[in-house]
Every structure is written in C-alpha cells, then in structure tokens.
C-alpha cells in the first residue's frame, strides 16, 4: 500500500487530483463530475504549476523528500515545491500520528515539519513553509515509522479515547519508579517531533550588535512605507523581514498598489531603500523578541538557503538590535475553523492557498472548495478562478451578503466533515436549512479571519485587547516602550490602511527623534472593510482539531473545562494547546474562543496566555554563537606557557587559566612519579613555578593602610615599607573570603596578592568598599595581575639561584624573610622580589614585566642547572602546601572562619574590619568548633579519599556522629605516605587521637591519626635561612 502511495505522489498523468495520495477504493460519493484537470497549467513544469509567480522558471532545482527526487525553482519554498509536485502529505501529527499536509504559507506553520539535510547538519522540525529551496536539498518527514503513508503508530489514532488531555498525569501515576524507566521513554518514542543527529553541528554561528534610530519589523506595505518615510528623512533605519523576498503580503496578492502589481511596487520601494546609505535591509532575519530598553533579538539566517555555509562564514547570526524606536509591521496570521476531521492533508488556510497560487504559481489542489466566514477568504476564490483552478464551491458561513459571480457560492452553510485520510477527497457541508451535502475536492481553503501578529507587542507582559470589529486581539496600548505598530499587526487590515499607518507611525518616530516629518506620498491601494461574522468551530460528532501541532481537539478543551482547568494558562498546560514550535499561532485564538463558549464568558474576559520570546524557534547554536567547544570561554595563558609547552607540560584548567600541572620527564610513566620528583627536587634543590595567575591588586593612596586595616582581619597599617604580611579577608558575616600576602612597596603603595580563583571577586569587593563604603578615603585601585610575570623560586638553593638573577644583594641580612623590594634583574630590567613561601622552603617570588616572563624562566632554568633546578606544576604546588599545612580553595569553601583555620588570633579586636564583629558570633566562636588538623593513615599504605568524614571508633557513620571531614589529600613523597588536611570538631585538643575516615560513596574506611597540619618543618626554620 505504502509503496503505491508514494508512487502516485508524482502525479504523472493523474487526472483526478482528489484521489491522489490515497489508495483506498475510489469512493463514488466524492467523484464529482466536472473536475477540471490541468487547465492553464505549465505543461513543461511540475504538475501543479500555474503561470506567474515570483519564481525563476528558467532554472530548475533538484531536491529530495523522503528519498524521492523532485524539481522546483529558485524562489520556491520546500512547501511550495512539494505542492507543485502534487505532494500534499508532509508529516504525521504529534500524538495521534494523523497524516498531515501543509496548512499555511509562512512561519506560523504547525504541520509541515520536516527533518532537513542529513548527517551532522540534519535539523528536525524545520517548517517546510519557510525552507528556501536550494539545489540538492534533502528533507524527510518525521515522527513516522516505517513510512509517512504507513505509520505503525497511527494506531494511536484508534486509541484516541484513551489519549485525551492530561492522560499521562492520570494514567502513568503508579508505580512512581516506572515513570523514568518505562513510561517516559515509551511516550517519548511514540509522541514527538523530529529527531536529533546527535552529531556535532559542523557550522558556526555569530553573535552581533546593531544600532538604529528605527527598527522596522516586517516589509509588507506598512513596513516598506515606514522604512521609506523614515529613510527619506535621514533616520538610521534597519528593516528586517523573516522572508527571503521583501514585500510581505504584497507578494502573495494580486492587488495593485499605485497602479502596478503590489509586488512590483514593493520592489520599487526596495530599490529606493537599497540606495539610501542610512537604511539597511535585512532579509531572512526574524525579530524573535523584545527585551528591555529598546533591545530586540533577531536571527539572520545567512546560509540556511545554501547547501552549506561558505568556509568561515556563519550559518546564522544572532543580532542584538539597539533601536531608539521600532515599528512592528509584522502583518497578521490567518486562523482556521474547527470542524470534524479538519486536519486532513489538503485543508489549508485560504490566504495560504492564494499565496501558493500568486507567489509561487502553485495550485494547492486541482479542485478547491472554500469555507469562509469573511470577505477576505473570497479573494482566494477569485484569484484561483482567475488562475484557472477549479473552484468547486465557496461554503460561506454568513447567510447575508452578495454571492461571487460565476462561482458556486453557498451562503449560510458550514463544513461538517472531511474525508480522505492521506489526502482530502471531499467535504460534507450543512446548509442553512440543516441539509447535508458533499462536495468532491482535493483542497479546502479555510478562513475565519486574521489575527494581528501581536506577539512582539506583548513580550513585556502587555496583554492584547479585543477589537470586536475584526473579532481579533490587537496590540495593547501599553506595549513595550518605543515600539509602535502599523498595518495589519495593528488591526488595520486593508492595503491602504497599511500604507497610511506605516507612514504615520514613521512620522511619529521622526518627531520623537527630532527629525523632519515627511508628507506621506500614499500610492493608491484597496481599502476594503473587514466583513466577518465570527465562527470558531462547527459543533458535531467526531474530533475537531484546535491545535494541529499538539493534537488538541475541541473535546480536549471541553475536558479541560470539565476538569476545572478553565483559565487559559491552565488550559494551555493541561492540553498543551499552543506549545511547541508554532507557539499556537494558528490555534490559540480558537482554543480560547472554545473555552469562552464553555464558560459563558466573552473572549476578552477569557484573555490570552502570556506571550514570551522567541516568536519563532531559535537554534541553540545561534544562542551559543562562537562560545562552544574549545572556544567556550577565552583561555588565559601564563607568560611561561610557551616554554612550559616546550617542556611537555601537562596543563590543567584553573578558572580560565591554563596552568602547568606537572612536567613529565622521560621514563616517568605516571603523574605521581613526576609530581613526587618535583616535590622532592624542590625540597632538595630549587623549584620554579609560574604564579602569575595569582591576583595582583595595586593599592595606593594616603589612606591605603587604613583601607587595608578595614578590608583585612589583621593589621597592615603598621607593616613597614619593604615588608610583606599574610592576610585574611572576611565577608560581613565573618566567613573567610580569601587569603594572600600584601606587600608594602612604599609609604602609600601596597601590592595585594589574591588566590587565582578570587582575583576578580576580591577586586570587585575592594572597589565596592572604595566606592560605596568609604568614598572619603584616599584610595586608588587597579589590577596588575596581567602586567607582571611572577615566579615562585623555592628550595634550599633558591637564594643561590636568584643571586645569579637579581642585581641587588639578597643575602638573608639584606633581604630577610618576608622582605619585598623593587629590584633589577639580569642586568637592569626592573623587577619585584618578595621573600615569601607557600612551600615551607626558603622561597621567593620574582616578578618582571610580562613580556620578559618567557625569557626569565629560560634564564633561571639555565642558571640553575648546577643547583638542581626543576620546574614544578600545580600538583607539586598542592603537595608542598599540604605538607606545610597551608590552606587553599579546598579549605576556603565559603563556610569557614579564621578560627576554623586555626588563624583566629589574626582577627584583630583592636580595630574594626569587615566581618570582625560577626566572626565573634557564639556558634562561630565555639571553642570546640571545627579546627584545621593534619591526618595521617595509621597504616602508611592506606589510601585516603578527600571528602571522607571523620567518625569516632564504634560509632555509626551517620550525620549525628560526624566529627569533620578531609579537605585535601595528597601523597607526601617526603613522608612516603598519604597525608591530609581536615576540619575536625574540637580538633586543636585531639592531636594523637585515632578516628575512622569513612567515605560512604567510595565505600572506604581508613583508620587515621590526628596530627599537626604542619607535616614539614613545623618550626619554620627552613624559611628563615
């Protein structure tokens, strides 16, 4: 069955369009006589082509749908090209797997969703109505198996009585564990949209920024007129349209503007605008959201109409537009009418049927019927008739009014049912006297009127207001500031009205910008009134679709009402009405109108759901831009990076920094061998480590000492010039933010060092203190982290090495422990020297301007050969500091006080400092609180796990018995076994005690002994040699 179906899709020599796409026996009820086939068709082209349209018939483009090859023309969309080839069945519905065709001709399309392209470029849920045809385009239908015409999951349609709104909430309640393991996977497989390739997107995306006096959104008559008016006045104008041809609805109609075809008039305005240097025209660009302060989000599809983007060029650009003023001229979206089986392929919106005929020269059907409640729908009948398409009948819900001449125009009638599972074969209608009759047709064009595209005007919580005269919501007068609305988007539905309001809104903008307003030159255009008699759904048996994308029917709305989900927001969540890629553009109005009927409230009382960006789907790639993979964030490289890479260093990310983690040497097969060697080598000879990453903040001013006394818990104003002091910085609540050393280089000049991770937060904190807390202090701050390359030189040979580098006397007498000075190095280069130690060894930090960092490390390595010099990485740095009992990020976890760290005495009570008072809180000041201790395993071969909790012998490993935890664990090559730092309750008085280090996750338990955290040189003798 399925194989034949796809065969008939080509429509070769097929006379009776209304049977194609369905291989069931020809139903005589629908085989109406007089079906005109092939009249006026372009015989050389695809079967359903009509003459005319904005396509380039001189060229042919080959494309594939579900593996079958077709031809279209430049200017086609995938949908128009498929219709031209007689393909009406384009997808399966979300829940019931009902066969579906195309409904619309624009971005509001709920049905014709396809997977576009193949391989890593495969993109699901692409709307065939906006996919621009290119040679070699591949598309596949989705949510069906094994094929579009025969879909096993079509069984869902028969099960529909069980799959009503809210069915999962009711059905899959129990047992709870089955939800994730069974129910959800099954539902996800059965219901859904397209599939992902799961391959890395090979294309790149840009982000950019645009600035304009006026952003015009939409290029129909209103938008073009607005852009022309403002452009002529010299305003900086950006005109954006989601389409690839400017002109909007003018390209879809046969209406004349200024005595010429509307589309020709549009092209003449586009030509004028293109020549203005102050106007930028952007096609294929969708404004998807309105954000604060005149910021608009837009996506430009730079290369979606090409097989692949050019090398280096983005596929799409996400633009952030800063516009002083904006005019929304996005037009309106036509709405359908719900009746039984109104989702059959071939049932389309009347405006879309007309668009396919006029813009693309495509007959959406060979025998077309219409179902309308308004005059605009009648245009479709006239245009099709003029194009030679057989118009079977116009079923007009209105009893009054004139009949169309030469067309069967049935007044006061409604369509009650549609037949043709895989493609429409006919409709049943009921006339004013209640008589039912059938009409054979392969396309039904439906119009229930047009909804102004109010979405963008409602993006900042504004609610659209009801306009009875057009039975539609129009933009709120309290919409986003600076956003004006013109044309159909404002509820002004005629071409003349669009031109006039476009010009008028542009003049309003010019006035606000202080530019000369323009006398509008309005070309002559139609100004037909809206004549419409509201009709939302035709009641009767069977399922009538409200939301085609989410398979929500009138019955579902009724069920939501019955179960008291009556507010529109509840209705939406309960039934999924208006969700997914189309965001209910063709369905929301219908859904709330049905709900209004059920509650007996008016439509405006029922209201709309909240509108939120994006207006149409935005690719995640566009939101990410270039920030992905290796380029997710910029990397920071130390001055010795190139040199370290030459040494074969293994790098580790430390925030944005790449730091050398260790330097493997030949013969070393594990990282531990390298790290142990670096640690032992440093303690025996001399090690060098790039510490440029530590934050360096230059603090100057006559109040610098006072300032430091207030931001540090300990005192700095008394620090002599030429000395360094270790400091701890508290938050207001008494918890330690950061620690580091601060050097006093001059009377009013200090250099603060922060941890690598906190360089920015500490600088921000200091700026806050300077600007907001104490603006009266004389303080100047600036970061110098990047300006200086700084190296730690540690080990017993550190001085001997630096004596070969530093030009000045650095003997212990001249330059004692904790000294600092401006020095010169290597024969006169200015540098800085600090005698500080993180490793516990005799150690210095030496700094030179960053551009000399590479040369300095090479020089030190060369000069230190006989001293056993070796570079060490962050792993060895960590081992050295844990052996010495120095704290780092693992200990400064945002919960610890100075007292916890064993540094309680550093919090000076003689002065006030941030956090001093609150650090004295009773609970924080408990004598038996957590204290930093050292841990060693009783069995030297035992392996410790960081994060293990300390539990007394014989106690259960539960929270109530938790005495503390291991913060940092390293292997100490110096001691030959593992050691750790830990926080332990009442730790200071528990030295020598034995506890269990229990890790319930790793399922380990190790007996440990509590020791001093100073594993190496507890007296600090090595520092002071």
């Amino acid at each position: 069955m399925n194989a034949r179906v796809s065969g008939t899709f080509a429509g070769q020599g097929e006379l009776f369009g209304f049977v194609k796409g369905d291989t069931r026996p020809h139903d005589p009820r629908y085989s109406g006589d007089g079906v005109r086939a092939g009249q006026g068709r372009d015989a050389t082209s695809t079967p359903e082509r009509l003459p005319g349209g904005l396509i380039d018939r001189s060229r042919s483009l080959e494309f594939a749908f579900d593996g079958r090859s077709y031809r279209g023309h430049p200017g086609d969309t995938l949908a128009s090209a498929l219709l031209a080839n007689g393909v009406r069945l384009m997808g399966r519905s979300f829940k019931y797997h009902r066969p579906r065709g195309v409904l619309t001709a624009g971005s509001e399309e709920p049905n014709a969703l396809v997977e576009l392209r193949s391989g890593a470029r495969q993109e699901p849920n692409s709307r065939a109505t906006v996919v621009e045809l290119f040679h070699g385009l591949e598309a596949c239908s989705q949510n069906r198996w094994p094929s579009l015409a025969f879909d096993v999951m079509g069984i869902n349609d028969l099960l529909s009585p069980f799959l009503t709104a809210g069915f999962y909430y009711k059905t899959f309640m129990w047992p709870a564990a089955f939800w994730e393991t069974l129910y959800e996977p099954v539902i996800r497989r059965a219901a859904g949209l397209g599939s992902l390739s799961r391959a890395e997107d090979p294309d790149c995306y840009d982000k950019g920024f645009l600035h304009a006096d006026l952003l015009v959104i939409g290029s129909g008559p209103a938008g073009l007129m607005a852009a022309r008016t403002a452009g002529r006045a010299g305003a900086r104008v950006i005109l954006m349209d989601e389409d690839f041809v400017l002109g909007g609805r003018l390209n879809a109609e046969t209406l004349s503007v200024g005595g010429q075809m509307g589309s020709a008039w549009a092209q003449s305005v586009v030509a004028e605008l293109s020549a203005l240097p102050n106007v930028r025209l952007m096609t294929r660009t969708t404004v998807f959201g309105v954000f604060d302060h005149g910021i608009y989000g837009a996506v430009e599809r730079v290369a979606d109409h090409l097989p692949a983007p050019e090398a280096g060029k983005p596929r799409q650009i996400l633009w952030r537009v800063y516009a002083r003023q904006a005019i929304l001229a996005a037009g309106a979206v036509e709405r359908p009418i719900a009746f039984r089986n109104n989702d059959r392929p071939g049932i389309m919106l009347a405006g879309a049927v007309r668009t396919y005929a006029n813009r693309w020269g495509v007959a959406a059907g060979r025998r077309v019927a219409l179902f309308v409640n308004n005059d605009d729908g009648l245009r479709t009948a006239r245009d099709l008739d003029a194009a030679g398409v057989d118009v079977a009948a116009v079923i007009d819900a209105r009893a009054e009014g004139d009949r169309l001449p030469g067309i069967r125009h049935i007044k006061g009638a409604v369509v009650t049912d549609a037949a043709g599972r895989l493609g429409l074969r006919g409709v049943t209608f009921r006339d004013g006297r209640g008589r039912e009759d059938r009409i054979a047709c392969d396309c039904l064009a439906v119009s229930s009127g047009w909804n102004p595209a109010v979405a963008l005007t409602s993006h900042q919580s504004a609610r659209p207001v009801w306009d009875e005269s057009i039975a539609a919501f129009v933009p709120s007068p309290n919409g986003p500031k600076g956003l004006k609305v013109a044309g159909a988007a404002a509820g002004v539905m005629s071409t003349h009205g669009a031109l006039a309001t476009g010009a008028a809104r542009a003049n309003d903008v010019l006035e606000e910008l202080g530019l000369p307003t323009q006398k509008p030159e309005l070309p002559e255009a139609e100004d037909a009134p809206v004549r419409l008699s509201p009709l939302w759904h035709v009641s009767g048996a069977g399922r009538a679709w409200v939301d085609l994308q989410n398979d929500v029917t009138v019955k579902d709305v009724r069920l939501a009402h019955q179960e008291n989900f009556r507010s529109v927001e509840h209705l939406k969540r309960y039934t999924t009405l208006g969700m997914a890629t189309d965001q209910g553009k063709t369905s929301n109005m219908l859904g709330l109108a049905v709900m209004a009927e059920l509650t007996g409230k008016s439509i405006p009382e029922t209201g709309t759901t909240m509108f939120r960006p994006p207006y149409t789907p935005v690719a995640m790639g566009a939101l990410a831009g270039r920030s992905r993979g290796e380029d997710f964030k910029p990397r920071r490289l130390t001055p010795s990076h190139r040199w370290a890479a030459e040494q074969g260093a293994i790098f580790v990310e430390a925030g944005l920094w790449m730091r050398a983690q260790w330097f493997p040497r030949p013969g070393e097969t594990t990282w531990r061998q390298s790290v142990d060697r670096e640690v032992l080598g440093t303690r025996k000879g001399v090690g060098i480590c790039d510490v440029t990453t530590l934050g360096k903040i230059d603090i100057q001013g006559t109040d610098a000492g006072v300032f430091l006394d207030r931001v540090y818990a300990n005192t700095f104003s008394t620090l002599p010039v030429g000395k360094v002091r270790y400091g701890i910085m508290l938050r207001e609540d008494g918890i330690v933010i950061d620690d580091g050393t601060t050097a006093r280089l001059g009377e009013h000049e200090y250099i603060m060092t922060t941890t690598t991770a906190n360089a920015v937060p500490v600088f921000r904190h200091l700026e806050f203190c300077r600007q907001c807390l104490w603006p009266d202090l004389d303080i100047q701050l600036i970061s110098t982290t990047e300006a200086w390359a700084q190296f730690s030189v540690a080990g017993p040979n550190a001085r001997r090495l630096l004596q070969r580098i530093v030009d000045q006397d650095i003997s212990d007498a001249a330059f004692p422990y904790m000294a600092c000075a401006n020095v010169t190095v290597c024969g006169g280069l200015r540098g800085r020297l600090f005698r500080i130690s993180f490793s516990g060894e005799l150690a210095y930090e030496v700094a030179v301007p960053a551009r000399y960092g590479d040369a300095l490390v090479r020089e030190m390595m060369a000069q230190g050969q006989d001293l056993g010099v070796m570079p060490y990485g962050t792993e060895a740095l960590g081992v050295l500091r844990v052996e010495k009992g120095h704290i780092a990020g693992n200990e400064l976890n945002g919960q610890t006080t100075a007292l916890n760290l064993g540094l309680g005495k550093m919090v000076s009570k003689k002065k006030d400092a941030i956090g001093m008072v609150l650090s004295q809180r009773e609970e924080l000041a408990r004598a038996d609180g957590l204290r930093l201790v050292g841990i060693r395993p009783v069995d030297p071969k035992a392996v410790l796990e960081a994060g293990s909790h300390l539990i007394a012998a014989g106690r259960d490993p539960v929270a109530a018995n938790d005495d503390g935890w291991l913060t940092s664990v390293v292997h100490s090559p110096h001691l030959g076994h593992q050691i750790a730092l830990a926080y332990l309750r009442n730790g200071a008085s528990r030295l020598g005690e034995r506890l269990r280090a229990v890790n319930l996750l790793a399922k380990t338990e190790v007996e440990v002994e509590i020791v001093s955290p100073h594993f190496v040189d507890p007296e600090g003798e090595r520092l002071r040699v």
Binding site: C204, D206, K207, G208, F209, L210, H211, R236, G312, K313, P314, I317, R320, Y322, R626, D631, K633, P634, R635, R636, L637, T638, P639, R642, L656, W657, T692, D698, Q700, G701, T702, D703, H748, E749, D776, D778, I779, Q780, I782, T784, T785, E786, A787, W788, T824, V825, C826, G827, G828, L829, R830, P849, A850, R851, Y852, G853, D854, A855, L856, E859
Partner: protein, 187 residues
C-alpha cells in the same frame, strides 16, 4: 632603554609581533607603546590637571582619547586615565609619570597588562560581530571599555579605518582568534 639580557616576547607570535590580514582587514600586534594608569589622589584633581597641562599630557573627558605630541591619554574612570607614550622613550613609563606627578597622583605600570592590537580596514562589519559598539557614534577620538569575547577590552578609535584594541594580555590568543573569526565572517 636599559641593557639587560632578557628578551621581550610579543603576546602573539614567536619572535616578531603577529600581523595577519583577512580580506581588507589587517590585525597587527604592537609592542611600541608604554602604558601607565594615572589616578588623582583624593581632592587633588585640579593639581593633577595643572601638572598634566604643564607637562603636555592629555587627560580627556569620559569616552575620549586625546593624542598630544608623544603622549596620549584616554579616560578610564572618574579621575583616572590611561597614559600612553612611545615604548622607546618611556619604557619605564610609571617612573616617568611618578616623577612628573609626585604625590598628587597614583601611578601604576600597565604596559604588559594588555595586548595591543591595531586593526585597520573597514571596521563596522567586523566589529558589529564582536562588540556592542555603535561605530557610527564612536567617532575617531572615542575610547571606551567594552566586552569582546567575554573579555574586558579598551577600544580606541584612532581613525575611520583604524582601531586600537587593548585586551588582557594572557588572553591575547583567544582575543586574536575572535578577531580573525569575525573578520572571516564579515569579509
């Protein structure tokens, strides 16, 4: 310049500052400018301005950059400027400025905190993909701080077709990559 035995390295490139052309755009690292920040001590703004005027050092208004003889300056924050001078003349620019301004201002060496990139060519199509600067209003003589590639950078509009970009030196490679990507995207 002092005669020490260490050799300066550019932030990009191995020995010579990096120069790359992408379409009509040229992106070149420059090592020829020394930078020092100058911040008035509290209450001494007038004095600083007087000394600067005597010394011929420009202290421009917010958003501005001014070149005056050897010196140039751009605004950083209230009472704070970045002062530029030729590297050959003012290698130790902070010492030079400190001598001029004495205790009236705080001076900090900033030369190597930044990678200096000179970008020449048609700027708009490239920079609109990089940062939120409106180059129509950001006329020659403008200077500002903005975010490019997540990095705080100073942008100085030297001429219609020339921008100087100061980016954090440690991220020079990432910034450079972003500039090249934007140029390739635009041209």
């Amino acid at each position: 310049m002092c005669e020490h035995r260490l050799r300066a390295r550019p932030a990009l490139g191995i020995d010579q500052p990096d120069v790359v052309a992408v379409g009509p755009v040229r992106i070149a690292e420059s090592m020829g400018t020394a930078l020092g920040s100058l911040a008035s001590r509290r209450g001494r703004d007038d004095e600083v301005r007087r000394i600067a005027a005597d010394a011929g050092i420009p202290l421009p208004a917010p958003g501005q950059m001014v070149r005056q003889g050897d010196w140039a300056g751009f605004w950083l924050a209230p009472s704070q400027w970045m002062i530029e001078g030729p590297q050959d003349t003012y290698e130790d620019i902070a010492a030079v400025l400190k001598t001029i301004f004495g205790e009236s201002a705080s001076v900090t060496e900033q030369t190597d905190a930044w990678v200096r990139l000179e970008v020449t060519g048609p700027l708009r199509p490239m920079f609109e993909r990089l940062c939120n600067l409106d180059l129509v209003r950001f006329v020659p003589g403008s200077a500002t701080r903005t975010i490019i590639e997540h990095l705080g950078c100073y942008v100085l509009r030297q001429a219609d077709d020339r921008i100087t970009l100061l980016g954090p030196r440690s991220s020079a490679a990432s910034l450079h990559h972003a500039l090249i990507s934007a140029a390739r995207s635009a041209f």
